[in-house]
Symmetry: none
Subunit: 347 residues, 2 copies
Amino acid sequence: MPVRIPRTSLSTQAAAVLRSEIAQGAWGDHLPGERLLATRLGVSRPTLRAALETLEAEGWLERRQGLPTRVLEGGRRQSERNCTVRMLTPVPLRDMPPLTVCWMDELRERLAAAGHPLELVVSPATFTTRGERTLQRLERSHPGGVWILHLAPESLQRAFAARDLPALVAGSAAPGVPLPSVDLDYRAICRHAAGLVRARGRRRPVLLLPDTAAPGDAESAEGFLEGCPGARVLRHDGTPSGLCRQVRTVCKGREGADAVVVGRSVHALTVLTCLLGDGLRVPEDVAVISRDGDAFLGHAVPALTRYASDPRRWAALLAREALRLCEGVRTGARHRLMPDFVAGGTL
Amino acid sequence: MPVRIPRTSLSTQAAAVLRSEIAQGAWGDHLPGERLLATRLGVSRPTLRAALETLEAEGWLERRQGLPTRVLEGGRRQSERNCTVRMLTPVPLRDMPPLTVCWMDELRERLAAAGHPLELVVSPATFTTRGERTLQRLERSHPGGVWILHLAPESLQRAFAARDLPALVAGSAAPGVPLPSVDLDYRAICRHAAGLVRARGRRRPVLLLPDTAAPGDAESAEGFLEGCPGARVLRHDGTPSGLCRQVRTVCKGREGADAVVVGRSVHALTVLTCLLGDGLRVPEDVAVISRDGDAFLGHAVPALTRYASDPRRWAALLAREALRLCEGVRTGARHRLMPDFVAGGTL
DNA sequence: TTTGCTGGTCAGTTGACTTGACCAGTGAGA
DNA sequence: TCTCACTGGTCAAGTCAACTGACCAGCAAA
């Protein structure tokens, strides 16, 4: 009857888990970085390091500063494909636009209902380095599973396609990449916006976009020019001050812009407040339209005219395609959603 | 490959051991004394007592001071495995403030890691009907499980407490309700804001709150008056037009308010754009401080001065309390978080 | 009534674990 | 060649579960 409760320290448990996984060959010939490994185990780095030290002493690993930890002489059996779904994104959740968080949550729910967990992999390197490199690292640290690429540059999308990895693109799908994708129809949105602006008698419309290389932004520019040939498309650096500078230059004087279409909802907010602060009247002097539609835009005064998409439709499509990939079905379906136009007071 | 290391507290492990032993009838009809039992399990008495408390709550035991603890005939089978967590909220996800969506997502992730799915139950009736009625419907439609009450009015909170249902309050916990709760320390925030405003030489500060009956708003008003006795606290109807009307009345003329502290981040946005649109200078003529801190506020020009809380801490606390409830532990812990002050350009 | 058990409660301390930071070595790409 | 983003190596401050040791009140047999 006297059953003593075993006290195993966290690092001992971690060592046990890692030992069995290494034995199964789940990690290939190199372990992922300590920081990543620690968060995956749900354990702090010092704790993980204690576990790694015991494994090193047992002869499972070789560690050297500056190099990834090497797995020694393991019976490296192929691990079974465990179909977890991973969302690859360069931005942490709390810096995403609210609408994005919203569909991501919805997606998580739908996938969970189908028995597939959704894991968020935040990798800022996604944007900066070449696709090949990023992918190599990812394959090492997260073997197997289905990938959802969010805000991934074209190079990375192509790298996934080239290796025939199960992946789908959420937003900003580069043209010609043979991966299934779900995206807003930015070309149609911006063409519509440009037409609308012209119909209201605005003669000098401008499209403002961040200077990142998202394919959706390129589409936006094309659509805008289709709807209003000869209009201007300007890039900014994404900071409030940089955007303000751009706005002030563009809207100055009699020949300044009389309508601004803005990509990204937070930037639309920056533009609106900047204009109001400078004493310009919206929409009398300058009209503002937000290409993207977060809920908070409706609380500005005047409410921003915008294009609002339904996160549930978005998530439903993503979930369907992701589940197909889990089942091994490869399609190249390109879904283009057209959001609803929400008339505000800024046009 | 979700290889998370499970964190089971010592008392949970002890409870599990005892539960199985009781079920096997290993102890007869009375347990040995706590001191003896504790040393047998290799555990301290407080830890053992925590385990006994959960077993008592589950109906396995009957404890009375002075008497040995009695083992009840076939403690009722607790469907412990089936412990889904449900978030009850009056607002659908896409209408929530971004920060809320953010912590909700984080919470979902943490609970999923512990093997508990999170289900969102959207019930607008939560706000309109009496607590008793709402609860009856909920018990019928979603039997069992742990509840997280979000934006629930006091009547509903009390109804849950009265029926002794496993529930915890996320935000706006009514005082005196014996449920565990996690909330921002609105009193401290508003006291701080009031003091800050006074220190900057503002003489006529105003606190603007929606006219809903959220307990957090009442706390805010109290804190604000503590920090600046004699200041004004005004209510508005939550619509942009209604809020604007209020703002224009309050800030008009020489004797108008020279500083506005605003509850709810979207309302802070409304106030800022309304003031700027009316040609007032921020902060020269009127300072604006947002009590709540969503990320988009930083993209206004000037950036809003605000109090930003970390959604991860928030979610961590909620997850911990929810998991405790899943294990049958009832606490009345009231967690009050103090967010960080973010200096913007509106003060 | 006394004594010795039972459970009920608490303040103070310990120590494992977390957090966030900084450092130095390595190697791919500009 | 230099830069920069990774790697592992180190550390100090803070958090929190658990332990320790104590005292209290209820109960029942001596």
